[in-house]
C-alpha cells in the first residue's frame, strides 16, 4: 500500500486503526516533496512537521485530523515559516503570527509540511507570476498547473500531500484544481477567516480546500469555517459542514449557464462537461438552461475592483518595517526603488490599473460603475437560484496551457478566469471537480450555489464524483 495514494479520510482511518502513525505519513510525504519534480513548494518545514507529528502520535486521544500532513499556500501567514506570497518583496520574511485558518487546522491535528508556490500576491492564473519559479502541471510537465494556487493544486495532484489550502479571488482555487484534475472549493465569502491571508482583493479573497476527493475537501472545510473575532467580515456558520455521502440527485435542478457553454469555451471542454451533465441526469437531476447575461461583464468588473483593492492592500510593502529594502537616500527613493524593483510586472500592472480606477475624476466611471455591475451580478444569481438549486459550467475555458504560452499577453491570461469570476463577485460558494479528459488533460466541472449552500454543493459534487469515477492519478507519476 502506497500511503500517498490514500485520501485524507483514509489516512485518518489508518492512523486511528493504529496501522500507521502520523510520523509515517509525514515522512512518506516529505520524501515525495524532497523529490519535488513539479516545483510545488517554496518552503518545506520538515523538522517542524516531524516534531508535530511525533507530538500528535504521543497524544492519548488523537485530534480529529489525526496528524495527516497538509500543504498551505504561501499567501497564508505561518509563524516562523518563511511566507513570501510568491514575491521578492517578502523574500525571507518570517511572520510573527499564524493565519486563523491554519491555526484551526493545526488545532484539529493537521500537520503543515510546507508552503506552496503561487503567482505573486495571488495575481495570475498559471503560477508563472511567482517571483521564484514555475510550478509544473503533474499531468504534463510542459504545461502550467493553473493559478494562482498552482503549487497547492500540483502538490495534491502529485500526491506530495493529500490536501492543501489555497486562496481564491477570481478562481485561484477552482481553476488550478480543474487544470490538475483535483477538487477545489471556494466557499461563501466570509465562511473562512481571512486573518493571516495576505490580501490581494479583500472583498473577493477567500481561503478554501484543494483535495483529491470531495469528501476530503468537505472534511478540511469543516474545520476552518466560522466566525473569527480577528476578521469582522467572517460569518457565524449556520450549520456544520458534513462529509458528503449522497449518490443520488433525484429532484435536483441543475442550471447550465448558457453564456459559459458557448463561444470562448473550447469544444473539447464543452463536450466533457455535457457528458457530466448527462450523468447528472442519470442520477435523477433535471438539467435546465439558465442565462446570466450580466456575468459576461464579470471579467471587466473584476479587473477594475480587484486591482483597485490591491492598489491599497499592497501599499504597505515599502521595505521599512519588514522584508528586503532598497538602499535609498530619500524617502521617495525608498518607496520607488523598493517597490519598483521588488514587485513583479503583473503586480505593478494591477497596482497601476487600480490606482487609476480610484483616481479623483475617474472613480465613478470605473470603481463606482464596477460596484454597480457587481450588484447586478449578485441580483442575477439570486434570480437564477429562485429556479435552480445549483449552477453548472466549465471551470476553465481550456485545459492546462503550455508554460510561456500566455505570459506575453496579460489579457489572454485574464480570460482563464472567465468562468470562475462571476461567483467570486457574487460571494457565492463554488467548487470544481474533475469530470473527464480533453486533449489528454483533465477538465473541471464548476458547480455554484447560493450562499451557505456548501453542504448541498458538496453532496452534488460527491454524487457526480462517484458516477464519473475520474482517476486523479496523473500518468507517469512515480509509484
Amino acid at each position: 500500500m502506497n500511503l500517498r495514494d490514500l485520501s485524507a479520510v483514509q489516512q485518518i482511518e489508518e492512523i486511528r486503526a493504529g496501522r500507521v502513525s502520523s510520523l509515517d505519513l509525514v515522512d512518506a510525504h516529505l520524501a515525495a516533496i524532497a523529490h519535488d519534480d513539479v516545483e510545488a513548494f517554496l518552503a518545506v518545514d520538515a523538522d517542524g512537521a516531524r516534531s508535530r507529528a511525533r507530538a500528535i502520535d504521543a497524544m492519548p486521544e488523537r485530534p480529529p485530523l489525526a496528524g495527516v500532513p497538509i500543504a498551505v499556500k504561501d499567501a497564508l501567514s505561518t509563524r516562523d515559516i518563511v511566507t513570501t506570497s510568491g514575491s521578492k518583496m517578502l523574500e525571507g520574511f518570517r511572520p510573527v503570527y499564524t493565519a486563523t485558518c491554519v491555526a484551526r487546522l493545526e488545532a484539529a491535528g493537521a500537520v503543515v509540511v510546507g508552503k506552496t508556490n503561487m503567482d505573486e500576491f495571488a495575481m495570475g492564473s498559471s503560477t508563472e507570476n511567482s517571483a521564484y519559479k514555475n510550478t509544473l502541471n503533474p499531468w504534463d510537465h510542459t504545461r502550467v498547473p493553473g493559478g494562482s494556487s498552482g503549487g497547492s493544486a500540483a502538490a495534491v495532484s502529485a500526491r506530495q500531500v493529500p490536501w492543501s489550502l489555497g486562496s481564491d479571488t477570481g478562481g485561484s482555487i477552482r481553476q488550478p484544481a480543474a487544470l490538475c484534475g483535483i477538487v477545489g472549493m471556494k466557499p461563501t465569502y466570509g465562511a473562512i477567516s481571512r486573518y493571516g491571508l495576505i490580501a490581494f482583493a479583500s472583498s473577493l479573497d477567500q481561503v478554501g480546500p484543494l483535495a483529491r476527493t470531495v469528501a476530503d475537501a468537505a472534511l478540511l472545510l469543516k474545520y476552518v469555517v466560522g466566525h473569527d473575532p480577528m476578521d469582522s467580515t467572517s460569518l457565524h456558520w449556520p450549520t456544520p459542514i458534513e462529509v458528503p455521502t449522497a449518490t443520488d440527485l433525484t429532484g435536483l435542478r441543475i442550471g447550465v449557464v448558457e453564456e459559459l457553454m458557448g463561444q470562448g469555451i473550447d469544444p473539447g471542454i464543452r463536450a466533457v462537461v455535457d457528458d457530466a451533465l448527462v450523468q447528472a441526469e442519470g442520477l435523477g437531476a433535471t438539467i435546465v438552461p439558465v442565462s446570466l447575461p450580466t456575468s459576461l461583464s464579470g471579467l471587466a468588473t473584476y479587473y477594475v475592483l480587484a486591482p483597485a483593492e490591491c492598489s491599497a492592500n499592497l501599499a504597505r510593502f515599502d521595505g521599512i518595517r519588514y522584508g528586503p529594502s532598497a538602499d535609498a537616500d530619500t524617502l521617495l527613493d525608498q518607496y520607488e526603488v523598493t517597490r519598483g524593483t521588488l514587485f513583479g510586472a503583473e503586480v505593478k500592472r494591477r497596482i497601476m490599473l487600480g490606482t487609476f480606477a480610484l483616481a479623483s475624476g475617474y472613480y465613478d466611471q470605473y470603481y463606482g460603475r464596477a460596484q454597480r455591475v457587481r450588484t447586478l451580478i449578485v441580483r442575477e444569481f439570486a434570480r437564477a437560484f429562485a429556479h435552480v438549486d445549483v449552477l453548472a459550467s466549465p471551470t476553465s475555458p481550456t485545459v492546462a496551457f503550455p508554460i510561456g504560452d500566455r505570459t506575453a499577453d496579460p489579457y489572454s491570461m485574464y480570460l482563464a478566469d472567465v468562468c470562475t469570476i462571476p461567483a467570486s463577485l457574487a460571494g457565492l460558494p463554488a467548487l470544481s471537480i474533475p469530470c473527464g479528459m480533453a486533449e489528454g488533460l483533465p477538465v473541471g466541472l464548476q458547480l455554484a450555489g447560493p450562499a451557505f449552500s456548501e453542504n448541498r454543493l458538496l453532496d452534488v459534487a460527491h454524487a457526480l464524483e462517484q458516477a464519473i469515477a475520474f482517476d486523479t492519478r496523473p500518468p507517469g507519476l512515480p509509484q
Binding site: S85, R194, Y195, I198, S232, D318, Y363
Partner: protein
C-alpha cells in the same frame, strides 16, 4: 479693509482615551518607550485585518449626542490612501461620505453672556497616525538628518469634529474651542490635552466683503498646541489676508503655520500639490449599524453638560458668571461644588472654592477633590463665618488647618482659639488701649478722615490674633473716638 469679515471653521481631532486602539487590542500610550504598544495589526504586517473598537463607537455616539448630531443608522469606513512612514498600511481607515454623526450644533457662551452658536457639519471616527521624530534642524522634516517612527500612537482612536464656517473672530474661535473641550471633558471621552496632542485643532480661515454670502479662498492654519496660540494665529492670519486682499492680491489655498515666537504666518505646502487620497469603502470592515435602543440609551445617560450647567448655576443658584465659569472647568470640581452647595449657601461655597481654597491648594499642587478638604468642610466653614463664630481671616486659617490635617473646622476653631471676639466689653478694652496708644490717628478720625478707621481695625485684628469681629471693631472705634 475693515469691510472684510473673517469666516472661520474648525476641524478638531480628539484622541479617545479608550483601553485599546481603534482596530486592534494594543493599549494606546503617551510617553512610554517607543514601539512597545504594537502588534501585527497596528504595524500592518501582511495578512492582518482591522476590527472596530466598540468603545470608540460608543464614545463617538456620545459626542454626537452632546453636539446634537444625527446619529447615522448605518455608517461605513473608507480607506484614505497616501504614502508616509507614519502610516504603516499606507492608508488611514477613516470615514468619508457616511460618517457616524451627521449635522448638529454647539452653543457656547461668550464672556458677556451672549450665545455663540456653531453648526457642526459632522463627527467621524478614524485612526491616528504614528509619531515621527525628525533628527536635526529643529525637528522639521525638510532637511532633517533622519527620521524615526514610534508606532505607539499609531491606531489610537480619533474623532474628527468638523464645524460649519460659522465663526467670525479669533476670540470666538478660542471661546468655542475652550468650551467644546470642556464639554468633551465632561463626557469623559478624552483627556483633551493640547500639549500631549490628544486634542488638536486646525482652523480654516478666509475673509470676504461684509454682506457677501460667498466664501473667500481659505487657508488652513495647522498644528496649534494651545488655545492662546490658536487665537493669536487666527488673528494674525486674518490680518495677513486682509492685507493681501487690501493691496490687491489674491489668497492662495494652502496650509499655513503660525510662529508663536515671531507672530509670523508661514506657508507649509500648497494644497494644489495635495494628494488624491483615492478614498474607497474599506472592504475589511462591515458597516456600523448601532442598535437604536442603545443609541437612545446613550442619549438618555448623558451627564449635565457645562454650558447648560453654567446657566443653571447663575440663574438658579445665584453664582456670578465668573464663578460658574471656574466651577465648570472640570466635572470633578462641579461634583465637589454641588456637594458643598447642598449643605450651605451656594454663592458663598462658590466664593470659598474658587477663591481661597484653590489659592491655598495651588501652593501644594492639589485640586480640591484631591485634598483633605471635603465639600462638607467647605460648607461648615461657610457656616462658621455666617453665624459669626469666626471672622473671615480666622476662617482662612481654619481652612489652612483643614488642608493640613483634615480635621473638623469647628474642632480647629477650638484648638486654635480662633473663635471671633464679639463680646463688646472685651473688644472695648482692646480698642480703648489702641486709641490711647495712637492719639494722632484718633485726631485724624475726629477731623473726618474716615479711612483712618481701617488703621484701627487692622490694629485690633493684629492684637486679637485675627479674632476680632471687624464689624464690631468699626462700630466700637466710632463709639470710643467719636462718641457715636
Amino acid at each position: 479693509m475693515s469691510d472684510l469679515e473673517p469666516v472661520i471653521g474648525v476641524e478638531i481631532h480628539v484622541q479617545l482615551s479608550t483601553r485599546t486602539k481603534m482596530f486592534c487590542g494594543c493599549e494606546p500610550s503617551f510617553g512610554d518607550a517607543p514601539n512597545t504598544h504594537t502588534c501585527p495589526v497596528c504595524l500592518a504586517h501582511p495578512g492582518v485585518l482591522p476590527v472596530v473598537n466598540e468603545e470608540a463607537i460608543r464614545r463617538a455616539i456620545i459626542i454626537g449626542h452632546a453636539l446634537g448630531c444625527d446619529i447615522a443608522p448605518r455608517s461605513i469606513f473608507h480607506r484614505k490612501n497616501y504614502f508616509y512612514p507614519d502610516l504603516p498600511k499606507a492608508y488611514q481607515i477613516s470615514q468619508f461620505d457616511i460618517p457616524i454623526c451627521g449635522r448638529g450644533s454647539f452653543t457656547a457662551l461668550r464672556e458677556d453672556g451672549s450665545e455663540l452658536v456653531v453648526g457642526i457639519t459632522r463627527v467621524h471616527l478614524e485612526e491616528d497616525a504614528a509619531k515621527l521624530t525628525h533628527a536635526g534642524v529643529g525637528g522639521r522634516r525638510v532637511g532633517a538628518d533622519g527620521s524615526v517612527v514610534d508606532f505607539n500612537r499609531g491606531g489610537t482612536p480619533l474623532v474628527e469634529i468638523v464645524t460649519e464656517p460659522d465663526l467670525r473672530s479669533a476670540s470666538d474661535t478660542a471661546t468655542f474651542l475652550r468650551q467644546l473641550r470642556q464639554t468633551l471633558l465632561f463626557l469623559g471621552v478624552s483627556d483633551c490635552s493640547m500639549e500631549e496632542g490628544s486634542m488638536r485643532a486646525d482652523a480654516n480661515v478666509s475673509v470676504r466683503p461684509v454682506g457677501s454670502q460667498a466664501l473667500g479662498v481659505k487657508t488652513e492654519l495647522k498644528n496649534m498646541n494651545s488655545f492662546r496660540f490658536l487665537e493669536r494665529g487666527v488673528e494674525a492670519e486674518i490680518a495677513r489676508q486682509r492685507e493681501v486682499i487690501g493691496s490687491g492680491g489674491d489668497i492662495t489655498q494652502e496650509t499655513v503655520h503660525y510662529e508663536p515666537d515671531t507672530g509670523h504666518i508661514t506657508s507649509l505646502r500648497s494644497k494644489e500639490e495635495s494628494h488624491d487620497y483615492r478614498y474607497f469603502p474599506e472592504p475589511d470592515l462591515v458597516p456600523v449599524v448601532p442598535d437604536r435602543a442603545w443609541v437612545d440609551e446613550l442619549r438618555a445617560s448623558l451627564p449635565e453638560l457645562p454650558i447648560p450647567l453654567r446657566r443653571r448655576l447663575v440663574g438658579e443658584m445665584g453664582l456670578s458668571v465668573e464663578d460658574a465659569e471656574v466651577i465648570t472647568q472640570s466635572p470633578q470640581l462641579v461634583a465637589y461644588f454641588m456637594d458643598a452647595a447642598g449643605q450651605a449657601d451656594p454663592k458663598l461655597c462658590a466664593n470659598w472654592i474658587r477663591g481661597e481654597l484653590r489659592a491655598q491648594l495651588r501652593d501644594i499642587g492639589q485640586e480640591p477633590w484631591q485634598s483633605k478638604v471635603t465639600p462638607t468642610h467647605i460648607a461648615q466653614i461657610v457656616g462658621l463665618v455666617a453665624d459669626g463664630t469666626v471672622s473671615v481671616p480666622a476662617a482662612k486659617e481654619v481652612l489652612a488647618g483643614v488642608i493640613e490635617t483634615g480635621d473638623d473646622p469647628a474642632a480647629l476653631v477650638q484648638a486654635k482659639g480662633l473663635a471671633q471676639i464679639s463680646d463688646e466689653g472685651e473688644l472695648a478694652a482692646i480698642i480703648g488701649a489702641i486709641v490711647d496708644a495712637h492719639p494722632e490717628q484718633a485726631q485724624q478720625l475726629r477731623e473726618g478722615q474716615n479711612k483712618v478707621i481701617g488703621f484701627f481695625v487692622g490694629q485690633a485684628m493684629k492684637q486679637s490674633g485675627g479674632r476680632a469681629d471687624p464689624q464690631a471693631v468699626q462700630r466700637l472705634v466710632r463709639k470710643v473716638v467719636l462718641g457715636e
